[in-house]
Amino acid sequence: MSVTRNLKVEFGGGLEILFNDQRQLKITLSADGRNPNVRDLIKKLADEHIQERKELFVEGETVRPGILVLINDCDWELRDELDGELEDGDLVVFISTLHGG
């Protein structure tokens, strides 16, 4: 039985450029027999939503160092990072820190 989640995803700090200049996406994520987590979301974004320069977003199964992840405004480092499970309606924000200032 697959579990499905409807999520809002936002990009900031220049990452939106990788996603066709879209700051927001609505993503439907599902996983078989378990709750979908952040690892699933990153994989889906990398596989289905980035056309070019994927390496600026992902490194292995996680995001490139220097990209912050917030789930409902909470640092993902407090929520089990890749294994953090997602609920329906969650807002996941990815912000790059790598741009000049």
Binding site: G14, G84, G101
Partner: protein
């Protein structure tokens, strides 16, 4: 997962894991800790003087936007008494800088700070767009970096400001440390971790964010919903810095304290006096008066190259051979003048005061030791009652040097020519020196000195080849 409470207030829900400490804190505690740590960095180093005019180097990016916000907040909260300005440089990069300057203009309204924009075109007669047309995309960052540094100083000077703060954060500083190590740039290695770089003929530069992690700056900007611009410069692949940056980020992912550790290490590097003396001396550029380590400053050399169409030559080692003559129709950079404020300070006869020994001050009339001036405007002598102007004693330059042998270390000993050795038992074997023994050809010689004749005559040296210990002379 159950929400964890903030480790500082134990009340609200923790939202952020602080990279420096690993502490889990709520939004309000994060804001407070973030701002107060910067306040501590600033106040521990006595970065600012009351009443000082300070320019915030503003690019519209995340660091300078957060810097403007935090400087304004702290100036109000802790009553620094600073007069703050926004200072932006327009490099003339269409589709990049013109957009980010719009952000700065909005910041001007949001923070109610006066804004000055100085353009490369105004100052050098060249925009970056035209420079890239002339030199190509490969080396243009050199032009931009050299030109921006001068432009900021000149912009500040035109506003009569002698102190600029920039948004360089801990990640940037750690990157710069690594780059200076890789390039073997000894003189910059020490300088790049100082919170303020000061000089007589330069405008002070401070980095209030030198201990502030990039992650926290971005989090702060995000939670405070600050308006910032984040697009990579269209001309900058910035390869070299890019490598250092990726490396630092990888290290941070493994161990977040790495960044602060690198800065701490560089802060503790001491450059030996011998090396210090060998470094190029700072002088004034003969053409534009800006501080320089050569007769012509880098900006004048680069500009001359652009004007003559030999720009590519100006980069790298050939730069020194560029001719000094400049024909009257070639464009040059206007003469650089320090802000008046700073010049007045220099005119004070601080160095000539005969009634000062080291850090001790003595009354001019009766010679009694005076109390060290605190923040008072006047100093009075307790013995004879003479009152002097306290301002004359401000910014005294006190130099203390330790004797090179005062703190012996095993590493130093290895470097010195003469090593004192102590033999077994009571008999001293003498000192050792790197000298080839003429007789036995051994590399090391031990010698002893003996005072044989009267005290004002030289002593007799007896040298021994190490292996055979034969007495040669």
């Amino acid at each position: 997962m159950p929400p964890r409470p903030c480790q500082l207030c134990n009340n609200s829900r923790a939202m952020i894991k602080r990279p420096k400490t690993g502490q889990q804190v709520c939004k309000d505690c994060f804001f407070f800790a973030f701002e107060e740590e910067i306040h501590k960095t600033i106040s521990d180093a006595n970065t600012f003087k009351r009443g000082e005019r300070v320019a915030i180097g503003a690019s519209g990016g995340k660091d300078s936007t957060v810097l403007a916000h935090v400087m304004k907040t702290l100036n109000d909260r802790h009553d620094y008494g600073l007069e703050l300005f926004l200072l932006s440089i327009d490099e003339g990069i269409t589709g990049y800088r013109d957009d980010s300057l719009e952000t700065v203009k909005r910041n001007k309204e949001q923070y109610q700070l006066p804004l000055k924009i100085l353009s490369y075109n105004e100052l050098y007669g060249w925009t970056m767009d035209r420079i890239v047309e002339a030199v190509g995309k490969k080396n243009n960052c050199t032009f931009c970096g050299v030109f921006r540094r001068q432009a900021l100083d000149r912009g500040a000077s035109s506003l009569n400001i002698s102190h600029i703060v920039t948004g360089h954060n801990a990640d940037d500083v750690a990157e710069t440390v690594l780059m200076n190590i890789l390039r073997g740039d000894v003189s910059r290695l020490g300088r790049c971790v100082e919170i303020t770089t000061r000089g007589e003929d330069t405008i002070n530069r401070s980095k209030p964010f030198k201990y502030t992690y990039e992650k926290e700056i971005v989090m702060y900007a995000y939670f405070k919903k600050l308006d910032y611009f984040s697009t990579e410069c269209i001309y900058s692949p910035e390869a070299y810095r890019g490598f250092a940056r990726t490396y630092i980020k990888d290290l941070e992912a493994l161990r977040p304290s790495t960044i602060i550790d690198i800065i701490h290490s560089a802060e503790n590097i001491r450059i030996a006096d011998v090396v210090q003396d060998a470094l190029p001396k700072q002088q004034k550029c003969q053409r534009c008066g800006y501080i320089s380590s050569n007769e012509l400053c880098k900006a004048c050399v680069l500009l001359q190259g652009l004007e003559k169409g030999t720009a590519k030559m100006a980069i790298g080692s050939k730069a020194k051979h560029i001719s000094q003559d400049v024909s009257s129709d070639t464009r040059t950079i206007p003469m650089f003048k320090m802000p008046e404020q700073q010049q007045q300070q220099k005119q004070q006869p601080v160095e000539d005061m005969s009634n000062r020994i080291g850090s001790l001050l003595f009354c001019e009339r009766c010679g009694s030791l005076l109390n060290p001036p605190a923040d008072d405007d006047q100093i009075s002598c307790e013995e004879c009652g003479l009152v002097e102007n306290g301002a004359a004693y401000e910014n005294l330059n006190i130099e203390t040097r330790s004797h090179p042998n005062a703190f012996p270390s095993s590493l130093h000993l290895k470097k010195s020519l003469v090593v004192n050795t102590i033999a077994d038992g009571a008999k001293a074997a003498g000192a050792e020196i790197d000298e080839k023994c003429p007789s036995c050809r051994h590399d090391k010689a031990t010698f002893q000195t003996l005072q044989l004749r009267s005290a004002d005559e030289g002593c007799v040296q007896a040298a021994l080849g190490d292996d055979e210990r034969r007495l040669h002379s």
